[in-house]
Amino acid sequence: MRTLNCLLLAFAAAAPAAPLAAQAPAAGPDSARFIYATPGETYPYYAGLPREFWPFNAVEPYERFFTTRMPFRGPGRDYPNPSDLKSLRIGLLDSPKYDANWERSVRTREGVVLAFEEANRSRRPGQLPFELVEREGIAQWGGAGNLAVDFADQKVLGFLGTIDGADAHVALRVTLKTEVVIINTSDPDPTLTETNIPWLLRVLPDHRIEEARMADTIVRRFGCRRIAILREGDRYGRLGVHNFMNFARRLGCPAAQELLFSPGNPDIPHQIATIKDARPDAIFFIGEPADIGRFARQFRLAGIQARFFGADLLMDDRFLKEAGDAAEGAMFTYYFDPARSDPLWVDFVARFSRRWGHAPDAYAAYAYDGAQVMLHAIDAAGPNRWRIRDQVCNLDYYHGVTGWMQFDGTGSNIAPVRLVRYEHGNRVFEPQAEFTPPAAGGL
C-alpha cells in the first residue's frame, strides 16, 4: 500500500506540467521564481522559530499540527473549464472607507491594479484578459462574509484581501463552502492561517515573526527586564501582543504591564502615570502610528526614559510626525528595506511610482506580489478554481518584489523580517542578509 502510494507520489512529484502545456505560458514572473511543495514534505514547526519560542517547549505534545499542509481532497480538478468566459475575474476585498485600514487598503489596491494592468498589457492573442472585481468591505455585521459570497456569485476564480483580520477570517470560512482561493496580502493576524482551511495563502509575514524578533531584541539583545505594553483595546491590539507576551515570558522576562487605549484618544494620562510608576526599561507599542507617536511624545514629556519598541506600523510617517524627537532610538520590525538594490524591487518601485506618482509601501508591494501569484496561478492552471487552488496553496517559496518568501505548513510567509531604528529622524535598517531559500541557492 505504502509502496503504491509512493509510486503515485513519485509520479505526481515528477510529473511535468503536462496539461499545463495546453495552457498558455504563464504571464508575469518567470517560473524560476516559484518553488512548489514536494511529496511528503514536512514544514518548519511553529513558523520556524527556535524551540525556546514554542509553547510547552520542554515537553513533546500529543499531536503537532501544520508540520504538513492540509490538502484539499475534494473533487473539481477535472471539471471542464467554463466555456462562456469573457474575462478571468479576480476579486479584491478592500477595506471600508471609514475604517482605520482605509489608507493601507488604498496602497494595497494600487499594487493589485498595477499587477493587473501589466498582466493585461502582456496578454497574447487567445488569452482572456484579467478582470478585477472590487468590493468595499463592510466592517460591521460580518459583511466580509456576504462579499465573499458575492465574489462566488460573480464567478471569480480567486480573490485578494483583506486587511482587517476579522474580515479575513469571515471571508476565509466562506471560501471553504464556495471553494474560491484567497491570497491575503496584508493581514498580520497569526491565527488567520492556523485554521487548516486549505484555501488560503498569505504573502505578508505575520505578527508572530515580527514579535519573536522583537522579543528576542528586547530581552536578549538589550537585556530589558521591565517591559510595559501599550496597545489598542481592539482585536488588532489584542492579537498584536498576544505572541509577544508569550515570547517574552518564554525568554524569561514576562511583560510587567499591559495597558490599553482607545484609537484616536488624544491623551492617556492614567496609562502614562501607571507606566511611569512601574519604571519600565522597554515599552512595546501596538496601534495606529499617529496614536503611538502621540503617546511616545507624551511619555518622554512625562519623563519616561524607557526604550520604545513597536511593529511595522512605526514605519509610517505619521508616527514620526507625532512623536517628533521622542521617536529617536525607537526600534521596530519591518518586512524589508525599501532602499534595497534587488533589481526586481528597484524596477517595481520605478513602475509603481510612474503609475501612481509615489513610491510603494509594504502593503502595495505585498499586494503586487500576491496579485502576481494569483495571476500566474490562473494562467498556469486555467480557469478551474480547484487547480488554481493547487497552484496557490502548494507554493513553498516565491521570489517577489519584496524578496523571497517562504510559506510554512499553514500557508503563511515566514520569511525573516528586518530591524529598524530611528536615528535623527531617519529610519536606519540594521544590516541583514537577504533571505534566499536553499533550493534557490540560499543557505
Partner: protein, 657 residues
C-alpha cells in the same frame, strides 16, 4: 390727566407691548431653531413639539358603544342564533322563529368570531381585544374556559379531526394561526400565516382548514402584491398549501363549497401599480371572487359589473347544496347572489388564458351573478341556516341582522339589536367611511384602502400633476388625531381638507363628499384609536431589556463612543413623544428621482409596528430596511455606529409604540 398725558402713556404702553412681543417672538423662534436643529426653520407653532396632552385626544375619551353585529353562529337545529357584539363585549342569543333576542352574555375582549361545536353545546368566541378565545356553555351562556392566543383573533372555527377536536383561530394582529386542542384546551401549535389572517373555513369535514388573509403582502416596491389563503391540516398543524391571490387584498371572507371542493374568497383586486388616471373600468380596484380548487388552481372572477361596483366584499357563505354563494358588499349595502353552477360551467368551458383574464372582464359577472339583495348599512358577516333556507346578514352599522329567504331572495324580517346610533356623530361618520356612493360608480369606499381605518400595506400612484411621479404608501388612520398636517407632503391642514375636493378630483372622480358628511367622517377618524401592536398579555407591563435598550437608542443624544449626535439627527427631535412626530416636513434622504420634493411629512409612530411598508413610497419592506438599505449618510438619524443588536433593539422598541 390731560389728553396729551393720556396719549403719551398710551404710546408708552403700545411701545412696551410691541417690544415684549418682538422679544418673545425672537426668543420663541430661537428656541424652535435650537430645539429642532434647523437654523432655517419657518414659522411653526408651539404645539408642533409641545402637544396638548395625548390623554386629551378624542380617541382617549369615552365614546358611545353600539350593538354592532359581528360574527353569527346558527345552532345545528337552526332554532337559535348567536350574534357577537364586539363593541358591547356581549354575545346575543336570538330565536330564529320570532327574530327576538332572548339572552345576552357578557364576554369581555370584543367578541367577534363565533363557532359552535358539532352538538351546539359549546360556543367558542374569538375576542380580538384581549387576544383570547372564550368557551361558553350554550345552556346558560356562561363562560366556562378561556385560552390566550395570538394578537387580535378575528375568527374561530371548530372541526373534528382524526386526532380529536380542534379549534383554528386566525390571529390578525400577529400574522399567525393558533391551532387549539379542546381536551385539554391548549395551543397545539401556532403556524405562520400571510398578513392579517382574518377568517377561516373548514374543508373536507375537518381534514383541512383554509384561512383567508385580509391584507396583501409584497416583497418589494412596484411588485404586484398577493394575498394568501393558508391551507392547513388541523390534526397535525402542518401547513399544506399557501395559495396566492394575485393582486388581491381585503380578502376577509372565506367559504367552503360543499360538493364542489372549492374554497371561495371574497376579495378586492387592486391595481396599485397602475397610475390612478381614472376610476372607470375597475382602474383602481374592483371586487372579485377567488375560486381555489382542490388541485391548487386559483381563478379570480369579478363580482362587479361593467358600469357598477359592489365594493368591500366581506362575509361569504355557500349553500349546503353548493349551488349558490352569497357575498356581502359593505360598500354598496347589498348581498350579491352567485349561481355556482353557472360559474362552474363557465370555468369548465374556459381556457387557462380565459381564467387568467377573467378578473379583468367587468362584463363577465352577468353570467353567474343572479341577484343583488339590498341590505342595511355595511353588511359584513353572513350565516346560513343548516338547511340553507335562511340567510342571516349582519348589518353592522344598523345594529341589526337581516333575515332573507334564500328561495325567493326576499327579506323575511330583521333581528333588531340596537338603534343604529343615529345620534352618534362617530357612527354617522363611520357610515360615510364605509359607503362607496361618494366614488364614481360607487367604485370603492374609504374602507377599501383603510380596513378598520388601518392600512392596506400598499403604495398607490396618484396622478397629481403628472403620471408616475406620485407614488405614495398608504398611511394608517388609526391614532391620526392630533397628527396634522396630513398627506405625505403635509399640505392638508385638516382631515376635511384631506378628504375634500382635491380628493374627489384625484381619486373619487365625482362630487366631493358634502360638508356635513365630511365633518362626520372627520369625527369618526379622529376617534379611531391607535392599533395595538403588543400582545394583550404584555399591555401595561414594563419594557423588556431589549426594548429598554432600543428606547435608550431612540432617545440617545450621544453615540456609543460618547461623541454627540446633532440635535437635528436625533430620533426624538422629529419623532417627538407623545405621538412621536413634530408634525414638520423633514428631509431624510429618501427623495427618488420622480419625487417632486425632498421633504416629507414626519409620520407619527403610534402603532408603527403594524403599518409597513415604510417611508413615503413604501420602499422599505421592514423597519430594519429603513436603516440598512435606505439610510444614506446618516440623514435619517445617526445609525452608522449601531451594532446589529442595537438596531434589533430599536425595532423592538418601535414595535411597542
Amino acid at each position: 390727566m390731560t389728553p396729551r398725558r393720556i396719549a403719551l402713556r398710551a404710546a408708552q404702553v403700545v411701545i412696551a407691548a410691541a417690544a415684549v412681543a418682538l422679544a418673545g417672538g425672537f426668543t420663541a423662534r430661537t428656541h424652535q431653531r435650537i430645539m429642532t436643529g434647523r437654523p432655517n426653520l419657518a414659522v411653526t407653532t408651539c404645539t408642533h413639539c409641545h402637544l396638548r396632552s395625548a390623554f386629551k385626544l378624542p380617541w382617549q375619551k369615552p365614546r358611545p358603544h353600539h350593538d354592532s353585529p359581528g360574527g353569527i353562529a346558527v345552532s345545528p337545529d337552526g332554532r337559535t342564533l348567536y350574534i357577537a357584539l364586539d363593541d358591547k363585549d356581549e354575545v346575543a342569543e336570538a330565536d330564529s322563529a320570532t327574530l327576538a333576542v332572548i339572552r345576552m352574555a357578557r364576554v369581555p375582549g370584543g367578541p367577534f368570531g363565533l363557532a359552535l361545536d358539532a352538538q351546539g353545546k359549546r360556543l367558542f368566541v374569538a375576542c380580538p381585544q384581549q387576544d383570547r378565545v372564550a368557551v361558553l356553555d350554550t345552556r346558560d351562556l356562561a363562560e366556562v374556559a378561556s385560552i390566550g392566543v395570538g394578537v387580535r383573533p378575528t375568527d374561530v372555527v371548530y372541526c373534528q379531526t382524526r386526532d380529536g377536536e380542534r379549534l383554528v383561530v386566525p390571529n390578525s394582529g400577529s400574522d399567525d394561526i393558533s391551532i387549539l386542542t379542546l381536551s385539554p384546551l391548549a395551543e397545539l401549535a401556532r403556524v405562520a400565516a400571510g398578513r392579517e389572517p382574518y377568517a377561516a373555513a373548514v374543508l373536507d369535514g375537518g381534514r383541512r382548514v383554509a384561512v383567508a388573509n385580509r391584507m396583501a403582502t409584497h416583497d418589494q416596491m412596484l411588485t404586484a402584491p398577493a394575498s394568501e389563503v393558508t391551507v392547513l391540516d388541523p390534526a397535525s398543524s402542518r401547513v399544506l398549501d399557501r395559495l396566492a391571490l394575485d393582486s388581491a387584498h381585503l380578502a376577509e371572507g372565506i367559504a367552503a363549497v360543499p360538493g364542489k371542493g372549492w374554497v371561495l374568497n371574497s376579495m378586492v383586486r387592486v391595481r396599485n401599480l397602475v397610475p390612478i388616471t381614472q376610476v372607470k373600468d375597475g382602474w383602481v380596484m374592483a371586487s372579485g371572487l377567488a375560486i381555489s380548487r382542490a388541485d391548487g388552481q386559483v381563478t379570480q372572477v369579478p363580482l362587479d359589473e361593467a358600469n357598477a361596483y359592489f365594493p368591500d366584499p366581506s362575509g361569504i357563505v355557500a349553500s349546503p347544496d353548493g349551488r349558490r354563494a352569497f357575498v356581502a358588499s359593505g360598500g354598496s349595502d347589498v348581498v350579491t347572489v352567485v349561481d355556482l353552477d353557472r360559474l362552474g360551467s363557465w370555468l369548465a368551458g374556459s381556457s387557462a388564458a380565459d381564467r387568467d383574464d377573467a378578473i379583468l372582464d367587468m362584463a363577465l359577472s352577468c353570467r353567474y351573478v343572479v341577484a343583488r339583495i339590498p341590505t342595511g348599512c355595511d353588511p359584513r358577516h353572513l350565516a346560513l341556516s343548516p338547511d340553507g333556507r335562511r340567510l342571516y346578514v349582519a348589518e353592522r352599522l344598523d345594529d341589526s341582522v337581516l333575515v332573507v329567504d334564500t328561495a325567493s331572495l326576499k327579506p323575511l324580517g330583521r333581528i333588531v339589536l340596537g338603534d343604529g346610533g343615529r345620534d352618534d356623530p362617530i357612527r354617522q361618520g363611520e357610515r360615510v367611511f364605509t359607503r362607496a356612493r361618494y366614488t364614481f360608480q360607487g367604485g370603492f369606499s374609504c374602507r377599501s384602502c383603510h380596513p378598520d381605518g388601518h392600512v392596506d400595506g400598499l403604495s398607490y400612484d396618484f396622478d397629481g400633476s403628472g403620471v408616475g411621479d406620485n407614488l405614495l404608501a398608504n398611511r394608517s388612520l388609526c391614532g391620526v388625531a392630533g397628527t396634522e398636517p396630513f398627506k405625505w407632503n403635509g399640505k392638508n391642514p385638516t382631515l376635511q381638507f384631506q378628504d375634500g375636493p382635491r380628493f374627489a378630483r384625484v381619486l373619487m372622480r365625482t362630487d366631493p363628499i358634502p360638508d356635513p358628511q365630511l365633518d362626520e367622517l372627520a369625527t369618526f377618524l379622529v376617534n379611531l384609536p391607535p392599533t395595538r401592536t403588543m400582545p394583550w398579555s404584555q399591555v401595561g407591563k414594563g419594557l423588556t431589556p431589549a426594548q429598554q435598550s432600543g428606547r435608550a437608542l431612540f432617545f440617545a443624544t450621544k453615540r456609543t463612543d460618547g461623541t454627540p449626535i446633532p440635535r437635528a439627527l436625533r430620533c426624538q427631535t422629529c419623532h417627538r413623544p407623545p405621538l412621536y412626530t413634530n408634525r414638520l416636513i423633514s428631509s431624510v434622504g429618501t427623495q427618488s428621482p420622480r419625487d417632486p420634493k425632498e421633504g416629507f411629512d414626519t409620520p407619527h409612530l403610534i402603532g408603527v409596528g403594524a403599518v409597513g411598508p415604510y417611508l413615503h413610497d413604501g420602499r422599505a419592506k421592514t423597519l430594519e430596511e429603513i436603516w440598512t438599505v435606505y439610510q444614506h449618510d446618516d440623514l435619517h438619524g445617526v445609525s452608522s455606529y449601531w451594532s446589529k443588536e442595537q438596531l434589533n433593539d430599536l425595532v423592538e422598541f418601535l414595535k411597542t409604540l
